[in-house]
């Protein structure tokens, strides 16, 4: 009997030991990862440190785009101490968005009640879901958060959500761009400065891992590791907030007055190439960009190409003067009538011809035949070289994401008619930033400078200057002075003289370009533009105004020119520039 017992024990003990070993193997090897993560979730806490996106500031340090905190309201159901009905009833009136401002009286009350009822039903749905943690409402304001906290409802909590805010709402929208989500749901800048400097602005999130006690407080002698977050860097731009505001205001008024479908204005500082203001309409509000058509997102000032028309003439004339092909008093001997090239006929805009007209008069009268004469004297290869030197056919390098190159074909591909039409700005496609940068070369005494918007990047402790400082001489001083005098004469004696402010010395040129549509030019639709700088002898600004399809008059002298002059009047006053006489 004893022997049997001993044998049984001899069998049972190894068997039990084997079972224990097998069970330990299961927990410690097979289920090790699962148990480790369960355990660490109980005594370790990982907090993600969000990186704040850098701000974008105007030249006076005012915020153009900043980062604000909104709140996500969530419910942790195991801790709720009120019924879902009670919670939805008390929280819904606080988080319901107000009805549209257009509603009033009984409509307003009814709309408000309907909205609150919908929110109540939404909260109930969320609270009745299986999950123990449910998100209730995104993007609550600080006031809404504090109102809910005052209710003392256990189980409701808030997470911080970083959002972009724009104190000037839609001002500079296309230049700033906006912040959306990428395919991973992370914030990303699109278009304009937000897109161009996205990596600088977005920063780097960090995290803290530490052991917690049963109450959720950190154990100071426990494990601890920290990876600091790095906030995004701030951009200080060259945008003058006051000028930008006024430019947008006057452009908006101009679009209404001249019934144009869109418009663009660029104001540039001649010596440095700094962009002082850049505005386009129609635009959008970057805070709610998703409510606007996607075609409004691109910045027309750098992304739209157009045939410049007569505002291109000063560039061609400056090239011919600089090359010594003509003088201001050189007389045109082919300007007595239309010029025939193959099957094409080149005439003047008003069918008036001036035999033996001088080059200065060519600019004053915006005479296409005189421009053909100057181009023939210059030669197409030299003309192409000058235009390439003015920066046409390639990006200016302005720090905006959506810049395009325009089009400047090789001179080998130019036929005689091409060189002739380019002389007065047809058959060539430019962006507004290219034309203002090229004209600015004249304002800057013949030196081309790269346009830019961001002057410094800073991370709070270090400020890095990133102004490009790229320049090259394109025209000699003598040719620059001559073309400036011609542009002054164009304003004093040309078709836009009525719009010029008294006693102001302005160099400029109007341009009324027909719009190419399916291989021909539309007879009705025009792009009216005006480009120039002031004061002519020592320019404080160079500016382009471009209006698409103005309805009140197709002519730039009656639309773009007066708008340019009203902007110039403001700028001269703003910069305290006294009248010349």
């Amino acid at each position: 009997m004893t022997k049997i017992r001993i044998k049984v024990i001899q069998l049972i003990i190894p068997l039990l030991a084997s079972l224990i070993i097998a069970r330990l193997f299961y927990w410690q090897v097979v289920r090790a990862d699962f148990l480790t993560s369960r355990a660490s979730s109980q005594y370790e806490q990982t907090v993600t440190l969000q990186a704040k996106r850098g701000g974008i500031y105007s030249t006076d340090g005012s915020v153009l785009a900043g980062t604000d905190e909104n709140y996500l309201l969530y419910a942790y159901k195991p801790q709720l101490n009120r019924s879902p009905q009670e919670i939805s009833h008390t929280v819904a009136p606080i988080i319901t968005s107000p009805p549209p401002a257009t509603a009033s009286g009984i409509d307003l009350v009814r709309l408000q009640q309907n909205s609150i009822a919908q929110t109540q039903s939404f909260i109930l749905d969320r609270l009745n879901q299986d999950s123990s943690w449910v998100a209730i409402k995104h993007h609550l304001s600080r006031d809404q958060k504090e109102a809910i906290e005052a209710l003392n409802l256990a189980g409701l909590g808030f997470d911080i959500e970083l959002v972009r805010y724009y104190p000037e709402s839609s001002m500079s929208a296309q230049m700033l761009g906006f912040v959306g989500k990428d395919i991973n749901g992370q914030a990303r800048g699109y278009f304009g400065l937000e897109g161009y400097y996205d990596r600088e602005l977005q920063g780097q999130p960090g995290k803290v891992e530490q052991e917690m006690d049963a109450w959720g407080n950190p154990i100071l002698v426990g494990n601890f590791s920290e990876f600091d977050s790095k906030n995004g860097r701030d951009l200080l731009t060259t945008i003058n907030r006051s000028v930008q505001y006024q430019v947008e205001k006057l452009l908006k008024d101009g679009l209404l007055r001249y019934q144009a479908i869109s418009g663009t204005v660029i104001v540039m500082e001649p010596k440095s190439g700094a962009i002082i203001a850049m505005a386009s309409f129609p635009n959008y509000n970057p805070a709610i960009f998703y409510q606007f058509p996607a075609e409004h997102y691109k910045n027309p000032a750098v992304a739209d190409v157009f045939e410049p028309g007569s505002i291109f003439k000063p560039l061609v004339m400056a090239a011919a003067l600089d090359a010594g092909a003509i003088e201001p008093e050189t007389q045109c001997d082919i300007c007595a009538g239309p010029i025939h090239i193959g099957s094409y006929t080149i005439g003047t805009w008003n069918n008036e011809y001036h035999p033996n007209t001088t080059m200065t008069e060519t600019i004053i009268h915006s005479d296409n035949t005189g421009m053909v004469f100057a181009t023939r004297r210059l030669g197409k290869d030299k003309l192409h070289d000058y235009l390439a030197n003015f920066g046409l056919g390639k990006k200016t390098g302005v720090d905006l994401e959506d810049e395009t190159t325009g089009e400047l074909r090789s001179s080998a591909d130019w036929h005689e008619i091409d060189a002739a039409t380019i002389a007065f700005g047809q058959g060539i496609a430019l962006t507004p930033i290219q034309i203002i940068t090229a004209i600015n070369t004249i304002a800057n005494h013949g030196v081309w400078v790269q346009p830019y918007i961001t002057q410094t990047i800073s991370d709070g402790s270090k400020v890095i200057s990133i102004a490009p400082n790229k320049s090259r001489r394109v025209l000699g001083e003598a040719a620059t002075d001559q073309i400036t005098q011609m542009m002054v004469a164009a304003i004093e004696e040309g078709d836009a003289k009525w719009a010029k402010p008294k006693d102001m010395s302005i160099a400029g040129k109007t341009g009324t370009a027909q719009i190419p549509v399916a291989g021909h030019y539309d007879e009705e639709k025009t792009i009216a533009s005006f480009v120039g700088f002031a004061p002519a002898d020592n320019p404080k600004f160079a500016m382009l105004v471009k209006l698409r399809e103005p309805q009140s008059s197709p002519w730039a002298a009656e639309t773009a020119a007066p708008l340019w002059m009203s902007l110039a009047r403001f700028l001269l006053l703003y910069y305290n520039i006294p009248p010349q006489n």
Binding site: S62, V63, G66, T67, D68, E69, R142, I160, Y165, P167, E168, S169, M171, M212, D213, W215, G216, N217, P218, I219, L220, V221, R241, S242, Y245, D503, L573, P578, P579
Partner: protein, 102 residues
Amino acid sequence: MNRIIIHHKLAAACKLVTVIVLFLAGVNLVVSNQLSTQGQDLAATNQQTLLLEQDITFLRQQIATASSLAFLDETAQGLGFIEITHPLALSPAESVAFAARE
């Protein structure tokens, strides 16, 4: 004789090590005891820091909104201010001495 001296030295060293270990254990006990109760203070401080940072962000946003040109323009119009449309430029007067000489 030498073995006795070595034996005494070893005994003294052991006593010293024991005293040091006991002292450090005591320090560890006291420090751990103190730190274990300060986690709550740290959590409260972190929470306070977070709230102050939220306040700073909120106030910055409020300042930016209140000083925006759109807001100022609207307020100025509400107060009855109007834009200058015809500014008057005053030229400096000719000096009396210069005028008299001519």
